[in-house]
Amino acid sequence: MHEIVIHLYQVMFAIGIFVLISLGLAVIFGMMRVINLAQGEFIMLGAYFCLFATQLGLDFWLAVLCAGLGVGLFGILVERLLIRFLYGRIMDTLLATWGLSLFMVGLVTSVFGPQEAGVDAKLGKVTFGAYSIAEYNLVLIAVAGALLALTFAIWRYTRFGLVARSVMQNPTMAAALGVNPRKYYMLTFGFGSALTGVAGAMLAPLVGNQPTMGSFYVAKAFVTVISGGPAPLTGTLYASTLFGATDGLISYRTTQVLGEIGVLLIAIVLLRMLPLGITGHSARRA
């Protein structure tokens, strides 16, 4: 019985991490088709925001909000200074954001040094028989789910989401209807960045905060969103579930290396069979 709970927990936790690190990219790449290779560094920035906010004495959850807000604003800045000149130039975007990624790692290392302290979320643990699980990890699963639902709701049911979706699909039409597409591109990029910032803040109590931490996540996030296919949010959910389950089970049953390699191999086979991604067969967008 306890074994089953632990398996379930490992799988859910892995899925939660996949959802967290991919959600922002699902908005930025999945919806806007902007290949942001600095995505990992946005995560890193979120973790640093969270760290400094808690060091200033802020409550952890307020710090997470701060991180979302801070990285969101940073994203808007990046969009204004960089991304907006590159819409439609996929390769150039890839290269410029990779430059941004190098720049951010270099800058943060210069200013704060190679490593930073961790964040203490001040939560306890729950026990199942011989096993105990950090409460924080359970909270992380819940937060991942809540963020996904929130994003979905905003996209589906708010005016912002409706307008943004129509802008992404047909900016000319949207402009003809009196919407300023540039504003919505900027806000959507900021929204995706904010989600990424929250992800970074949520990771801060788990991992060692260091300037290079982003590189660990960026490939995974891209593989997840690309495998998800043209409906970015539902696609990300499906892909995260598939990869998370694979990673969680293989990592727990064997080793983490095999878990990671397993995920990448499954992604390759998946793209061979479904070149457009998991949601590629249905034209409906979420």
């Binding site: 632990i6 190679p114 011989a130 096993y131 788990l206 060692g208 260091q210 290079t212 931490m213 727990y252």
Partner: protein, 411 residues
């Protein structure tokens, strides 16, 4: 470009020459003499620099102390520093530059075995001398290579019996996935068995892994008496945090032969870091006058007030052992120094260090310690003058002076 100390510390990166100030050299009476070049290749930047940052400064301090005391053989030392950027390609390039262009008498370089193995053949190609001031898996048998830090046989042998006695017989070992932790894990297993215990699980993690949730559940399923961490690097630092949040050292204690060398405890909270046992040739709270003087001097020299640690001390002892060998030889050339090295001694901050001529490794004191809640160590016990017995078992430079092999230690 030549820099003074402040500029050097602020910006050291790439190839920089650091010279003691003209005033210092004048007061030592050696300002006019031709300098002896000491090269230092370490990672100022990149993922591995947490092991190098203090050592870079300690090497500079040792050089400056020697200059202030009148230099070596009446000549000043000049330090040339290269930032290898945690990239072995630069180790190869800078090692060549140090030997060819700078004509360095000695190169103090490397904190990883992989970088050392890249540089060792170059030392032979250009007839140089390489000081590797870092702990590693042991077994290098090479007269152009000197290691002044501990190898597993020196460190693990006294540590394991203490752990078995204090915490219990069943251990679970976690290590970083490269050769040093693999070798060390075997030593832990061997000594644990000799002490009547057993290992019930061994796992290795790539250096970029920071999610230990699966491993923590496996450990709980296995129910060991003690968990060994041979985890390394900043990503693995997350382990100590996650361990305290799930299992807790109060339930299953932690032992480690790596914790602290990257100054891990300074990035962790008191709960996360305290209570881990380790064995080390040096730590800041070592209750000897030599150790305390070193810590005071280092802090004064660098203007930094945080934990100093063993890697700083290795750099300091490396330079001084080399300097003693130069004095003994009366000649700074690599060939003369290599001849003079066997038996050279230095009263290091961590205790007396003697070069073992059979292996070009060192006999030293090993101190048993446990982390306290103030980012430092509580001193438990000292094991005096431990020889590099594991490497001695496979290497004899007296019999085979042309040997260059790194042997895999047979247990």
């Amino acid at each position: 470009m030549r820099l003074n100390r402040r500029q050097f510390f602020r910006s050291a990166s790439g190839a920089l020459a650091f010279a003691s100030s003209a005033g210092l050299l004048r007061s030592a009476g050696i300002a006019g003499e031709a300098p002896i070049v000491v090269a230092n290749i370490l990672d100022q930047t990149g993922g591995l620099n947490i092991y190098s940052l203090k050592q870079i400064k300690a090497v500079a301090m040792a050089v400056e102390e020697i200059n202030a005391a009148g230099g070596l053989l009446g000549r000043p030392l000049e330090l040339v520093f290269y930032d290898s950027q945690s990239n072995n390609q630069f180790n190869a390039q800078y090692m060549t530059q140090a030997l060819i262009r700078d004509k360095a008498s000695v190169v103090h370089a490397g904190v990883t075995s992989s970088s050392r193995e890249v540089m060792r053949p170059i030392a032979h190609k250009f007839r140089g001398l390489l000081f590797y001031n870092s702990m590693y898996e042991g077994g290098v048998c090479d007269r152009r290579h000197v290691c002044v830090a501990q190898v597993p046989g020196q460190q693990i042998a006294p540590l394991v019996p203490h752990v078995v006695k204090e915490y219990g017989k069943r251990c679970y070992i976690l290590g970083a996935d490269y050769i040093y932790p693999h070798t060390t894990a075997k030593w832990v297993r061997k000594f644990t068995q000799e002490a009547g215990g057993e290992d019930i699980g061994v796992e290795f993690f790539p250096l970029d892994v920071s999610n230990f949730a699966p491993a923590l559940s496996r450990i709980q399923a296995a129910k060991p008496d003690v968990v060994w961490s041979i985890l390394v690097g900043s990503a693995h630092n997350a382990f100590y945090r996650q361990y305290e949040a799930t299992i807790g050292k109060a339930n299953i204690p932690l032992a480690s032969c790596m914790f602290g060398i990257g100054r891990e405890q300074t990035y962790l909270s008191a709960d996360e870091a305290s209570g881990i046992v380790n064995a080390t040739p040096f730590h800041d709270s070592l209750p000897t006058e030599a150790a305390q003087k070193f810590v005071r001097d280092f802090k004064a020299y660098t203007g930094e007030d945080d934990y100093v640690g063993d890697y700083a001390e290795y750099g300091y002892r490396g330079v001084n052992i080399w300097a003693n060998a130069v004095r003994k030889a009366g000649d700074p050339s690599p060939e003369a120094v290599i001849e003079a090295l066997p038996g050279v001694q230095f009263e290091a901050p961590g205790g007396l260090v003697t070069v073992d001529g059979q292996t070009n490794h060192a006999t030293m004191d090993i101190h048993l310690v446990r982390t306290n809640r103030n980012q430092g160590w509580d001193h438990l016990e000292t094991f005096a003058q431990r020889p590099p017995s594991d490497t001695q078992a496979v290497c004899d430079l007296n019999a085979n002076p042309n040997d260059r092999t790194q042997y895999t230690l047979e247990l």
